[in-house]
């Protein structure tokens, strides 16, 4: 089978396979660290994939990831929030990737995103339950947001470059552009 046959919106079979595998890698990464509250590799992987593959494919990965979360945890407001917050990170990364010169910049993006994670969700919860609830939700989660931001920064500063190197070489070897 020719993997370059166009299928949908200019996407090739190899794109569809790649998107599926990478969304699975994010779900696996999330589950692997789920025992530590607010320490995760999801943000790092989304940033990495956006840098390597661009916004469109990574956005599709995030949609599959969020949908998989519904299958695992059921439908709730926080899962719906996933359809919004991860694309925000992807868009921000896509916008900044040509301006950022080193892993420090990406670690900053990841850190700031982790720090504001609770705030994004508070906005989202406010839509359903009112601003007072949203404020309480955010305030209650500030310690966790601090932990989230710091851990995101540390994980990205350590892992971004080695992962990008491995991922890029794999893409060169197996991915036909």
């Amino acid at each position: 089978m020719n993997s370059n046959v166009e299928t949908f919106n200019g996407m090739k079979v190899q794109d569809l396979v790649l998107i599926s595998i990478l969304s699975a890698s994010i779900t696996a990464g999330k589950l692997a660290l789920s025992f530590v509250p607010n320490v995760e590799v999801v943000s790092l992987l989304f940033i990495l994939y956006t840098v390597a593959l661009g916004v469109k494919k990574t956005w599709l990965i995030s949609i599959i990831f969020a949908t998989t979360e519904i299958f695992i945890y059921g439908f709730s407001t926080w899962v719906m929030g996933y359809y919004i917050v991860w694309p925000i990170l992807i868009l921000a990364t896509g916008f900044l990737k040509d301006r950022v010169k080193s892993e420090y910049g990406f670690a900053m993006i990841s850190g700031v995103f982790g720090l504001s994670f609770g705030f994004f969700f508070a906005l989202f919860e406010s839509l359903f339950y009112g601003i007072a609830y949203g404020m309480a939700y955010w305030a209650r989660g500030i310690p966790l947001d601090i932990l989230h931001g710091a851990s995101n920064y540390i994980i990205a500063i350590i892992l971004f470059n080695p992962l990008l190197k491995v991922f890029s070489s794999q893409l060169k070897q197996y991915y036909i552009r």
């Binding site: 509250p37 607010n38 850190g111 009112g130 209650r140 310690p143 500063i157 350590i158």
Partner: protein, 356 residues
């Protein structure tokens, strides 16, 4: 590499500073020393409403609840990130998928979980079991829980039961009123996956294989079962025993399968014959009845393309050229021949000899 380590140390230092600032300015803080507080536990659906008064030195509600675990019959999950998650109190086990213990502090909804609610002397804490769906819907809920007056008619034709009940209720659904009034209604039921299924009402046992209780709301057929019918003030609900026989047949053709009792009067004026018969029949049409009772009626007939044609009845030979049998249904002229008249329970048919 050194630069990275430095930046990581910097971030850890920032976390410590931010954490300290949070604890100083934003985190809920407890008060040391002895306090007297009251704690009320409400599980409305189990009629649980108990109030406790505690003397405590603890600073947070969660700590007090842990200490009084036995008195409160408390079970909980100690989740490292989210604090105490109450899973049961006073013997009631929370269904975590649909309900939770809502915390109210001095009549106001708590903004934190029990582990983060600081205890203050004289405070009143209420833990009330609520459904997730109640959140943010308090206004709606109070509207719904207003008392409503509804009428319920129960009709079981074959037992001559036709009773009207008027209920004042705060329930939301018809099934809930039925449950509430199950004693008055002599109700036996099961709660199935499809909602309430009534097996007995007013002493009448419903034969589930052939009949059911049809629901009407203000005279119109209901679209859901009793568990899906929302009560509205002033509404009239009717539960009517019906057979599974298709309704269209009943209305359009009268083709009821059950036994019916009908009266047939045969009048031959020229011979002074006027006889009245009462028949129990399961036939659908008058022609079928006449065929069935041909011997009793001393009938001779033919089935033509236009339906049944009687040539002799009660020993009287019809003169096909000058006379005919005029048909009346409940004292009104029939619009069709014998083969087109659907039999309905209680109907009176008359066959009158008439000249053309």
């Amino acid at each position: 590499m050194n630069k990275k380590i430095l930046s990581i140390i910097g971030v850890i230092a920032a976390v410590i500073i931010l954490g300290a600032l949070y604890n100083t300015y934003l985190a809920p803080s407890g008060v040391e020393g002895e306090k007297e507080v009251t704690l009320q536990v409400i599980v409305e659906k189990e009629d649980i409403d108990e109030e406790f008064t505690f003397q405590t030195d603890h600073e947070f509600l969660g700590e007090l609840m842990e200490e009084e675990e036995e008195a409160l019959e408390l079970t909980y999950d100690e989740h490292s990130a989210l604090g105490m998650m109450v899973t049961g109190m006073l013997g009631y086990e929370v269904d975590g998928t649909s309900e939770y213990f809502h915390i109210i502090v001095n009549d106001e909804d708590a903004e934190y979980g029990a582990s983060s609610i600081p205890l203050m002397d004289g405070d009143e804490y209420v833990l009330e079991l609520r459904d997730f769906s109640d959140y943010g819907g308090n206004e709606e809920e109070s509207e719904e829980s207003e008392a409503k007056e509804v009428n319920l008619t129960i009709t079981i034709d074959k037992e001559d039961i036709d009773e009207i009940f008027t209920f004042q209720t705060e329930q939301e659904y018809l099934s809930e009123v039925l449950e509430e009034e199950s004693e008055n209604l002599e109700l036996e039921y099961e709660n199935t996956d499809f909602g309430m299924s009534i097996s007995e009402i007013l002493g009448y046992e419903v034969d589930g294989s052939t009949e059911y209780l049809h629901i009407l709301i203000n005279g119109e057929d209901a679209e859901t079962g009793v568990s899906g019918i929302e009560l509205m003030d002033g509404d009239e609900y009717q539960l009517e025993l019906r057979n599974f026989a298709p309704m269209e047949d009943e209305e359009e053709e009268g083709a009821v399968i059950d036994g019916k009792e009908v009266t047939l009067i045969v009048t031959i004026d020229t011979e002074d014959i006027s006889e009245e018969f009462t028949f129990q029949t399961e036939q659908e049409y008058v022609s079928g009845l006449i065929e069935e009772e041909a011997e009793v009626l001393e009938v001779e007939y033919e089935n033509t393309d236009f339906g049944m044609s009687i040539s002799e009845i009660l020993g009287y030979q019809m003169d096909g050229d000058g006379e005919y049998l005029h048909i009346l249904v409940n004292e009104e002229d029939a619009e069709t021949g014998l083969s087109g008249i659907a039999i309905k329970d209680g109907d009176i048919y008359e066959l009158q000899r008439r000249d053309f």
